[in-house]
């Protein structure tokens, strides 16, 4: 099933996703609410995995960010319609490390339409390259983000 969103909303959603790098990588703790909803959950399977529940926990996480933390670049975003107030988004990230090397992976996002605009409500970060330790991922959970005949990318009007 696929729904339709107007171009202006798609651009707003893309902006929210793109803002992450500019807010997080520049330690803009007070602007985290431009990217994430109050009830956000951010999870990663890097290493043993972790979960950050809620915007305030996200801000605390950012306050503890080390200067050598990799910069983020978000590309190849594909959107899927869930309902009138939610879309799922799948993107590839590139993380340039302080030593100049590069890591990559997938972002599996759910965005919610709030009175203030579209915000990321859920994000799962799954590394791809280089190989390294990571917690297992439930493949059936990720099926929601697989583009297919049964899960078409949303139409843009």
């Amino acid at each position: 099933m696929s729904g339709t969103l107007p171009a202006a909303e798609v651009i707003e959603i893309r902006n929210a996703i793109a803002l992450f790098a500019h807010v997080f990588d520049n330690d803009l703790v007070d602007d985290m609410g431009l990217v994430f909803s109050e009830d956000m959950v951010v999870e990663s399977v890097l290493g043993q995995g972790y979960s950050i529940p809620g915007l305030e926990a996200g801000k605390d996480f950012l306050r503890r960010r080390r200067p050598e933390t990799a910069d983020h670049h978000t590309v190849d975003t594909v959107l899927f319609w869930d309902d009138a107030e939610h879309v799922s988004a799948r993107s590839r990230y590139l993380a340039v490390r302080a030593d100049g090397g590069i890591n990559s992976g997938d972002y599996f996002d759910i965005l919610v339409k709030t009175p203030e605009g579209w915000r990321i409500q859920y994000r799962l970060s799954v590394p791809r390259t280089p190989d390294g330790p990571r917690a297992p991922v439930d493949a059936s959970f990720l099926a929601n983000w697989r583009p297919s005949a049964a899960r078409l990318p949303l139409r843009i009007a």
Binding site: V10, I11, T77, R92, T129, D131, P147, P153
Partner: protein, 155 residues
Amino acid sequence: MTSNHPGLSAADILSIEQTLALFPHIFDNDNGSDLDLLFTPDVVIETEKARSVEGLEAVRAWVAAKTAAAPDHQTLNVVVFVAEDGSVRARSRYLRITPTGETSNGDFLDVLVQTPRGWRIARRTTISRFPVRSVREDGTALRDEWLPRATGVRS
């Protein structure tokens, strides 16, 4: 002011960008059965090694033959324009990363068509940039055909 995308709406351009974004998610994840969301049935893909893959089934065979050492692809800097012949083209930069972290880059030169099911890539030419390898003799000239110009519409 001259537009370089006459006849294309903002929705068309966003949809084309989304189609191009599907490539890494489908191709890199070996989801050959979903390639029809990305390519036309008669798609032609040409690489710098003068390799030509014609038709969706041939692309599926290509995906099925990939090894674990195959690089991931990321698509950036997408520019969409309408050529003088009326074809809708996209020029983008790709960034490839191998499982061990080596990177290379190049250009995707695409021709897209609007089908009842959405925008699809009908022709893709891949030209590598760095690291420098032996490239197609006509690589530079081909890239030039896709260069944006101040005059707007490109031929």
